[in-house]
């Protein structure tokens, strides 16, 4: 086992574990931005820029969405209330540009097969999809473009690289053993899954999040067992109650509010090997630990504030440099934080971990004609290390 050192300092930076996309620099700079630095997938936050519709077609035999109100109208209203509440969880976080005003009014649609790559964000409860296998409850397809001006279906052409053009949420309609309950119906149906928890998690994907490895985060891939729910229920006083601090921090990084003055701190550092010879020889240019999970904890409260997968940095015109850098941004100022670092322990390859790591590079092998100077290859994550923390001068 090799000993690695974590250097850290307070700085201003950004970065998190999001669904990343490398702009297509083979295109003119006006379309690609000219930089091969990865860009996180995101929506525009201008008024009514994000529209969601949901399919009112529900599985009936067996019933997959359970509500307390058994009337047809009452049942739909109860489900819609859950959707509104789940959206509200994400739009109520302070210090972000993503607000309720960013969303167009929620729309109902009776079409059964509403989800599809048509440029309209949709939520489907009874649409079969080949991707469902035993054990798959729900998933979200997120479509982004690697250049400006791409149009999908009836959506408007993209104006930013990494802009999400379509995000569709599918709930498994075909497993007779699986059902989902609204919060009101959960107690009488303890074998069903909490619709609100799962929908809030999937909406996180629809907003550009990858999974988080923080236990208390909404984006943690493992949710509560049937009959229970994640975190706390949203309330009028705290509509974002189901989220963990890690989710809130991520949202503030992804949808940065330039007017915010509270969450403007960040911790940046590098994880470096005590013995540089322990770095991988291939691909060339790796100068720090790649793939480390880095967590910031509030020193006073002991709360986990945020975590990220570190190991790289990028400056225009790119490509990504694998220099061991990590950055945890959008932290509340005037707080002290402790940093923990841990390897993605086990013999894992870059294709096996989050998209936040696997999609950082493009090169002539993956994309014919890719300029060599803006090419890179994602290295294997470091497997075994222990850390010692050394504050920077």
């Amino acid at each position: 086992m090799t000993l690695f050192l974590v250097l850290w300092s307070v700085n201003t930076a950004q970065g998190y574990a999001f669904n990343q996309i490398v702009p297509d620099v083979r295109q003119p700079g006006s379309a690609s931005g000219g930089s091969a630095c990865p860009v996180p997938s995101h929506h525009l936050t201008s008024p009514a820029a994000i529209a969601f519709r949901w399919s009112t077609t529900l599985g009936t035999n067996p019933k997959t969405i359970l509500t307390l109100d058994q009337t047809a109208t009452g049942s739909l209203n109860e489900i819609e209330q859950v959707i509104r509440q789940s959206l509200g969880v994400w739009t109520s976080v302070s210090g972000t540009a993503l607000t309720a005003a960013s969303f167009a009014p929620l729309v109902r649609n009776s079409a059964a097969n509403l989800c599809g790559s048509d440029g309209i964000n949709s939520i489907c409860f009874d649409q079969p999809d080949m991707a469902f296998t035993p054990g798959v409850l729900a998933f979200t397809r997120v479509i982004t473009a690697d250049q400006i001006g791409i149009q999908l279906g009836s959506g408007v052409p993209s104006t930013q690289v990494g802009q999400i053009l379509d995000a569709d949420i599918y709930f498994n309609p075909s497993d007779s053993l699986v059902s989902f309950s609204t919060p009101a119906a959960l107690a009488p149906s303890p074998k069903s899954y909490d619709l609100e928890s799962i929908l809030t998690h999937e909406l996180g994907h629809a907003l550009g999040f990858s999974h988080s490895a923080i236990w208390s985060a909404m984006m943690f891939p493992f949710a509560p067992a049937p009959g229970t729910f994640t975190g706390m229920r949203p309330t009028a006083q705290q509509p974002d109650a189901p989220l963990g601090d890690d989710d809130r921090t991520g949202l503030r990084v992804l949808y940065h509010d330039p007017a915010d003055t509270q969450f403007v701190g960040s911790i940046q550092g590098r994880i470096l090997p005590a013995n540089p010879l322990s770095l991988p020889a291939s691909p060339p240019g790796v100068s720090g630990v790649f793939g480390a999970h880095v967590v910031a904890i509030d020193a006073a409260s002991g709360s986990v504030i945020a975590g990220t997968l570190g190991g790289w940095s990028c400056q225009a015109p790119g490509p990504a440099q694998f220099d061991g850098t990590y950055e945890i941004g959008a932290l509340a100022v005037n707080h002290s934080y402790k940093i923990y670092a841990e390897p993605l322990n086990g013999a894992v390859g870059p294709s096996e971990v989050s998209n936040a790591l696997t999609s950082l590079c493009r090169n002539p092998t993956t994309d014919p004609g890719w300029p060599p100077l803006q090419s890179c290859v994602v290295p294997q994550p470091n497997l075994e290390f222990t850390t010692a923390t050394r504050p920077s001068p």
Partner: protein, 188 residues
């Protein structure tokens, strides 16, 4: 409290702890499948080597079809070469991403728990849960198996420590024994 009562109390505490662990071990996108469930739901279980992956558009969605050479199969019949379909991929300037769908590199060897029938694309049961990567063990000279869903260490705010679950760095011999045992149990 007598020694016997205290022991009984500690056992109850231990079992409650185990139950709590089971409660949190459920997936949002994925339902946690026990090893015997994975075996049960699989039409076939095989050790395969990735040949290549290709994204295509079908029924308006982007899919990635990955071809594998079948090295050996533990359950079900498989031809020499199979195609496994996963949601998501890259097509022209569009990138379709589905978090949790496994990706494969050419040359990589894995155990796959597959649903579907020969003649069509197979699917991986439980996605990351039905994907077990094979790695050389440099110390022993043998091989180990790691389940995709067990990869990321999980940070527990309460204990301020990282934990891992699932099949992780298991010797391939032990894994094969366990697999054969489950398959035999199912066919009994």
């Amino acid at each position: 409290m007598s020694y016997k009562d205290r022991r009984r109390f500690l056992w109850v505490l231990f079992l409650v702890g185990l139950a709590l662990i089971a409660v949190v071990a459920q997936a949002t996108t994925l339902v946690r499948l026990r090893f015997q469930d994975l075996v049960h739901y699989s039409y076939s279980i095989a050790r395969v080597r990735c040949i290549h992956a290709e994204s295509r558009v079908e029924n308006g969605e982007i899919w990635t079809d990955t071809s594998f050479h079948v090295l050996s199969h533990n359950k079900g019949y498989l031809p020499e070469e199979i195609v496994v379909r996963q949601p998501g991929g890259k097509f022209q300037h569009l990138h379709s991403h589905v978090e949790g769908a496994p990706e494969f590199r050419p040359g990589e060897e894995v155990y796959l728990f597959l649903s579907g029938q020969p003649g069509r694309q197979f699917l991986i049961v439980g996605w990351a849960q039905g994907t077990l990567r094979i790695h050389p063990n440099l110390r022993s000279g043998g091989e180990t198996v790691t389940q995709d869903s067990s990869e990321t260490p999980v940070f527990d705010p309460a204990s301020k420590s990282f934990t891992k679950t699932g099949v992780k760095n298991l010797s391939i011999d032990i894994f094969e024994q366990r697999l054969h045992r489950e398959i035999s149990r199912e066919t009994e």
